[in-house]
Symmetry: C2
């Protein structure tokens, strides 16, 4: 999609920004700003300016000015958002957190870390692991995406099954409001019920309420070890039935991932699969815990899995062996682009018990629209990633892909699901939101936004 | 404390209520209403009326009328709140959920339950256990308090350490707003990031935003088994150091409870303790998991605990044996009233690493004010329950108890803590809230309340 030309920034505004952000901390030319005008949604719009603050005072001054001048503000980490949350409005000012990216504190005694929003979540996890501490949320982008972006979208990931999502690990936020006021929500205690829960209102607000200046997260002890089981089944029903058996045995794995036959075919085109028969689906299960307990749990898992007579089962405890098993899942994105050059990607989520039906109906949509649709995701959360593969340059294929997408969103809602389990609404799901959320609830959201942002400068046109 | 006389209900309002709630579904006489005018805070005020709806239509009609007539509305479960959240305003109307208490659905496939607010949480847990399902939040009142009340206060409990608090298990709420509009927040999917998080804004709002008509909770598979370890130490420092060792070993117990020497003395007066030496503190640890893994984890825990050479250690895996070990904690409330007839009770919470300092400072306050102060609680959450025992009828003791309370709240905040980890603010902590939460944040809370409740009829004067 081509970028809209930015509305020109008033000269006084440009001077203000250049003074507040000296040197290359502010850029204005399309050559320099265009990379900040897109995200993983592949949508694009040119911002009027990009600024890279290094201090909270700069952010306060900027939000005071933008509030007074009614200039749109877009907070941006690494631009991995898939629904257009980082795509600016014309005349919008992008705040890049690239230079506002310190881990301020890791407290081994309090089991908290305090970070600037630009910290890459994977970097935080690596720093924590050295101290045997653990921040569980693991969106697929974890090695590239930032804690600020993860907080703004309430990012999920595979480990949500056992540990919960970003929301469940954010204890407090220091935030700058439009107008420049700083608020501090929550704190560094693991429990806190004083007043309305402003912290969780900020989490998942997709940049529409405030700039997150620093973020306090809850940490857990790092589990001593992990183990993995990979099994292949004749069809999706058998794999999902096995997943149900695991829950019924009272087990709560750290992750449980499903990949359908279209995924397996795509992956097999890159690397041979570890089984010879034609499998209709695979299940990947990760357990964690202390060494001794894990051995017992893994043996139990093997007994449970055997009950559905899978085509193939393999378990691993060594790190390298585990990673080899996970390749069925980790090479998926790369493999998908061998299927077709373009994808429409969604993270629809249904009640856990409706997954089998959802997978079957999505596969029926794929057959009807004659497009390969990769279906994989987090079984325990009912969270299915759906990649509708097509050639966007072919109008007929593009039309069928869009029709498939709409059918998948509708079937998700018909099953009591949600348009988004972890990516957010952004721009790309906004046209569909009325099908899920009523006017009363959306009215409340807009009026709450007005409490924080009366002039509507924060990421306008997104989310709700 | 004596009850204030209720403001008389206007005759038209009384007729309206009597028509909407026929028979004994509405009561007006002080004899019948007085029991609904108090809660576990021991504060009291007479409501003008108590109604017991059986349908949502009645609640909608009531909230439409109360909104138009500016009549205070107080939602009430079983009145176990300890901070006065259930104590009505003069001329207030209490909505009792006693007849609005059905478990509407338990879905073994979706891992959700849908309940009316009046369901007693312990009853829900018992019904779930029969299906090997698990709703973890376990406030001390769990056998008496309701899911609606637990949601309104974001109740915690011992298992919060591993599983999180009520907030982390509420997926969606159907709520009636002042004016009678019904909103539906969230849903029944385990992940959901569509729009602002209205669900968690309602959780913990202490009855100030809306009436919760039904509540959808997330369920886990019931762990196969639990095990308990009880150990006694020479002093609080040693016990708390042992707690730190458990975390450093990478273990995340289902519960980890601390009781101080004053608690042990109180309990010993009821039943002999299982050790002979004079212990300064005890630690109770509960593990859960599958049978095989639990055996390994328990052995590991024993090795970790041995590292601090405790005065006494005992472990148990049979249910009855575990309960016997837990008596040190479960008989505390009963034992406390042998120490003195009255208590000021708080649930202060500090960052995890500050617990040792907090316990020492609270014990210093006890010495200074010459009052027995029981200190116990959830070590992993930094959540300390503090019972200041005294004779309220003795003005000197009462004065010292109040001084001790204020000192404890202040030392908590000085350590970066919060006034409330799980009880809420209600009436009794409201005078102190300004010490924790700034005017900017409280202003936001009040303006958000006005979005839901423009005339301020929902539990006025509480929480923030």
């Amino acid at each position: 999609m081509s970028a809209a030309a930015p509305a020109p920034l008033p000269p006084a505004a440009r001077r203000f920004l250049a003074d507040l952000f000296p040197g290359d901390a502010a850029v204005f030319s399309p050559e320099e700003t265009c990379v900040f005008g897109t995200d993983a949604s592949r949508r694009q719009a040119l911002p009027a300016a990009v600024v890279r603050p290094e201090t909270e005072d700069q952010i306060r001054e900027l939000l005071r000015f933008a509030h007074a001048e009614r200039l749109p503000i877009h907070c941006r980490g690494r631009g991995t958002n898939t629904v257009g949350d980082c795509v600016p409005a014309p005349s919008g000012i992008v705040i890049s957190t690239a230079r506002y990216a310190d881990i301020l504190e890791i407290s081994e005694d309090d089991f908290v870390a305090v970070c600037r929003p630009g910290v890459v979540t994977g970097d935080l996890q690596a720093a924590l692991a050295k101290k045997r501490l653990f921040y569980p949320p693991d969106p697929a982008s974890v090695r590239f995406s930032t804690l600020g972006g993860n907080a703004a979208t309430c990012a999920g990931g595979m480990r949500a099954l056992k540990y919960g999502v970003t929301r469940d690990f954010i204890l407090g936020i220091r935030a700058v409001l439009p107008g420049g006021e700083v608020i501090v929500t929550g704190g560094r205690t693991h429990k806190n019920v004083a007043g309305l829960d402003l912290t969780r209102l900020l989490v998942g607000s997709e940049g529409t309420l405030a700039f997150f200046s620093d973020i306090t997260v809850k940490l857990l002890p790092l589990p001593e070890a992990t183990a993995t089981a990979l099994c292949a089944h004749a069809d999706a029903d058998a794999a999902l039935a096995a997943a149900g058996d695991i829950f019924r045995a009272g087990m709560l794995p750290a992750a449980m991932e499903f990949v359908d036959r279209t995924c397996l075919a795509a992956v097999a085109a890159l690397n041979p699969l570890p089984w010879t028969q034609t499998a209709g689906a695979a299940l990947l299960v990760r357990l964690d815990g202390s060494e001794g307990a894990l051995a017992a749990d893994l043996a139990r898992l093997e007994r449970v899995l055997a009950g559905r007579t899978p085509l193939f089962v393999q378990t691993a405890r060594e790190k390298a062996d585990q990673e080899a098993l996970w390749e069925v899942r980790t090479t998926l994105n790369q493999a998908s682009f061998r299927v077709a050059p373009d994808k429409l990607s969604d993270d629809v989520t249904v009640p856990r018990g409706a997954i089998r039906t959802a997978v079957a109906r999505i596969q029926a949509v794929a057959a009807r629209e004659r497009l390969p649709i990769l279906v994989f995701g987090h079984v325990g959360d009912g969270n299915l990633h759906v990649n509708i593969m097509h050639h966007a340059a072919d109008p007929d294929q593009r039309g069928r892909a869009l029709a498939a997408r709409e059918a998948i969103l509708d079937l998700t809602l018909a099953l009591g699901g949600t348009l988004s389990g972890e990516h957010g609404v952004g721009l790309s799901k906004l046209p569909f939101l009325d099908r899920q959320i009523g006017p009363g609830e959306r009215g409340l959201m807009r009026r709450i936004k007005a409490v924080f942002d009366p002039h509507g400068i924060m990421n306008p046109g997104k989310a709700y």
